[in-house]
């Protein structure tokens, strides 16, 4: 195992009786990146995070945080880790500032000095002296991030962090995460929201039924497979003609139009192939009103990969 990974697990497993919540997970989160841990609800994302943070014991396997083995060096490892697990919880009768003060007391001495800057960073400085019982869910989420920042973290572990945020809050949150990564911090973000992960993260692991089924950079995960979306009023004829084109591996009718998957061994890029296909269709007398080279979205790959959705389809 290498210290260049902010999080490394090997064979990590958690069983609850007969049920396996986390199944032999080997995870590698590169340092200085935003890493998405992506999976449907109940896939074991939170359980993995809880094991990493020492909230529950692993049944088997090993873990390292920031190069340190946990649980044996848990205290030293977690000193530079900030985390939000599920919905951040607070003492409702204390103010926001007092809640941060309680957690700062459990951290190093300097943590108290970071309370103000953390509150300002999440935009809660002016509401910090109000009781938590007056905070909205979105404000509690932001205060949870502020609490995680008290550690001056090298690694932030955020479990479904945009739950409860409105669209503006989500947009703001994305910017904040990218800002943290730009400062050299690592962010491990678990989510079932594909769009969120795709917009924030550099790398992703896809988890289903407790197993990591694929991990890598977003580009790796989406693959180099290229497609072209074609719009035509004569879809059936277009489909039939394209079957004979040398660049085309398959053509399928979708709600957006005809999705053409190119042969990976075709010698030119998608743009040139699109131009060639356009010429081919026009010369055949077919009107084309849309022609757009595309890459498969993370959502499409996710749907392909996760067994649950595969079964449902």
């Amino acid at each position: 195992m290498s210290a260049s990974y902010a999080v490394e697990t090997s064979g990590l497993t958690k069983r609850f009786g007969d049920r396996v919540a986390v199944d032999n997970v080997d995870l590698r989160v590169p340092g200085g990146s935003a890493f998405g841990y992506l999976g449907p609800n109940g896939a074991g994302k939170t359980t993995l995070i809880r094991m990493l943070l020492g909230l529950t014991r692993a049944t088997a396997g090993t873990m390292r945080l920031l190069g340190r083995p946990v649980p044996s060096e848990r205290a030293a490892a977690l000193a530079r880790v900030g985390a939000i697990v599920e919905e951040p919880r607070f003492h409702r009768y204390l103010t926001g500032r007092e809640n941060l003060s309680v957690v700062a007391a459990a951290r190093e001495r300097q943590a108290h000095g970071r309370i103000e800057s953390a509150l300002e960073r999440v935009g809660l400085a002016e509401r910090a002296d109000e009781r938590m019982s007056t905070y909205s869910l979105g404000m509690r989420q932001r205060l949870g991030v502020a609490r995680a920042l008290l550690a001056d973290p090298e690694l932030l572990i955020l479990d479904e962090p945009t739950n409860g945020l409105d669209p503006a809050g989500i947009h703001e949150f994305r910017g904040m995460i990218r800002g943290l990564v730009a400062e050299g911090r690592t962010v491990l973000l678990s989510s079932h929201l594909l769009d969120e992960v795709e917009k924030i993260c550099d790398a992703v692991a896809i988890v289903d039924h407790g197993r990591v089924v694929m991990q890598g950079s977003l580009a790796e995960l989406k693959g180099d497979r290229q497609t072209i979306l074609i719009g035509s009023s004569e879809g059936v004829r277009v489909q039939a003609l394209l079957a004979a084109h040398p660049a085309v591996r398959s053509a399928a009718q979708t709600p957006e139009g005809i999705r053409v998957t190119l042969r990976p061994d075709f010698p030119v890029g998608a743009e040139d192939a699109a131009a060639d296909i356009n010429r081919f269709l026009v010369e055949a007398g077919l009107a084309v009103h849309r022609l757009e080279p595309t890459r498969p979205s993370l959502e499409e790959r996710f749907l392909e990969i996760t067994s649950r959705l595969g079964v449902a389809a």
């Binding site: 943070l53 529950t56 880790v81 919880r89």
Partner: protein, 262 residues
């Protein structure tokens, strides 16, 4: 790590622990209902009982003696230990189960701080809230028992000191028992129910039978009560009982805090 930095480790740990204790005290003293209950159950009974005794004496001196004196001090402090024990239980349960009940325990665990340190900080943190109330209540009782005593009936300094120690011990033990039990159980409501049923009903009932005195904390505390009558157990047994009744619930609470899923 250099020798200098190694030498500074105990001081750092001590300062760290003080911060944890301060946080525990903050969490408790900001609970308004707990503060009101503590005043009502610890301080108010002393004020009310001596005012009532003074009024009775003023109204009918022939029937009711002076409000102060050794007997009334003993009576007031027995009341303090009985009702004040309820406040001690409430403070102990909130100290032991407050973080868990609010879901904040896991937020403290993810800081990497030792769970045992988190547990241990609850003890001085809770006592820092409880004992000042007890001290104020005792001061009221002591002052009133001296100021309102008849000729030659005022308690001496030695007796007052003995009572101070006994009241402090009673309330501290009730707090520690509650802290241990509430750290062991998942529910504050259950902890309060179990502890109050034990303190107010079951333990006094068992004490009355006299058959279980060698294992009951109440018998040990009765043995140590100043001006108490005939004792059913020896001083050594009493001390041993107090040690066991302190260590066992605290050890159980510490174990559960260390091993539970947060």
């Amino acid at each position: 790590m250099s020798a200098a930095s190694l030498a500074s480790l105990p001081a750092q740990s001590e300062a760290q622990f003080r911060r944890l204790v301060g946080a525990e005290l903050l969490k408790l003293r900001r609970r308004r209902t707990l503060l009101v209950a503590s005043v009502a159950l610890i301080v108010a009974p002393m004020v009310v009982s001596f005012i009532a005794l003074a009024i009775l004496h003023a109204a009918n001196p022939a029937k009711y003696g002076p409000a102060g004196g050794v007997d009334n001090l003993g009576g007031a402090l027995r009341l303090l230990t009985q009702i004040g024990t309820v406040a001690a239980v409430l403070i102990g349960v909130n100290a032991g189960g407050g973080d868990l009940g609010a879901g904040v325990f896991r937020e403290l665990v993810v800081t990497g701080r030792s769970r045992l340190a988190l547990f241990a900080a609850r003890i001085p943190g809770g006592l820092a809230l409880l004992l000042p109330f007890v001290a104020v209540a005792f001061a009221i009782a002591a002052t009133a028992s001296v100021a309102l005593a008849g000729r030659g009936q005022a308690p001496g300094a030695g007796l007052l000191l003995e009572y101070a120690g006994w009241v402090g011990l009673m309330t501290t033990l009730a707090f520690l028992l509650a802290l241990g039990v509430s750290s062991l159980l998942d529910s504050r409501a259950t902890s309060i129910g179990v502890l109050l049923a034990w303190q107010l009903a079951l333990a006094p009932l068992l004490l009355q039978t006299g058959k279980l005195d060698p294992v009951l904390l109440g018998a040990a505390l009765k043995r140590l009560e100043p001006s108490a009558g005939r004792a059913s157990i020896s001083l050594m047994t009493a001390i041993l009982l107090i040690v066991v009744w302190t260590i066992v619930p605290l050890a159980a609470g510490a174990w559960r805090t260390r091993t539970r899923d947060a």
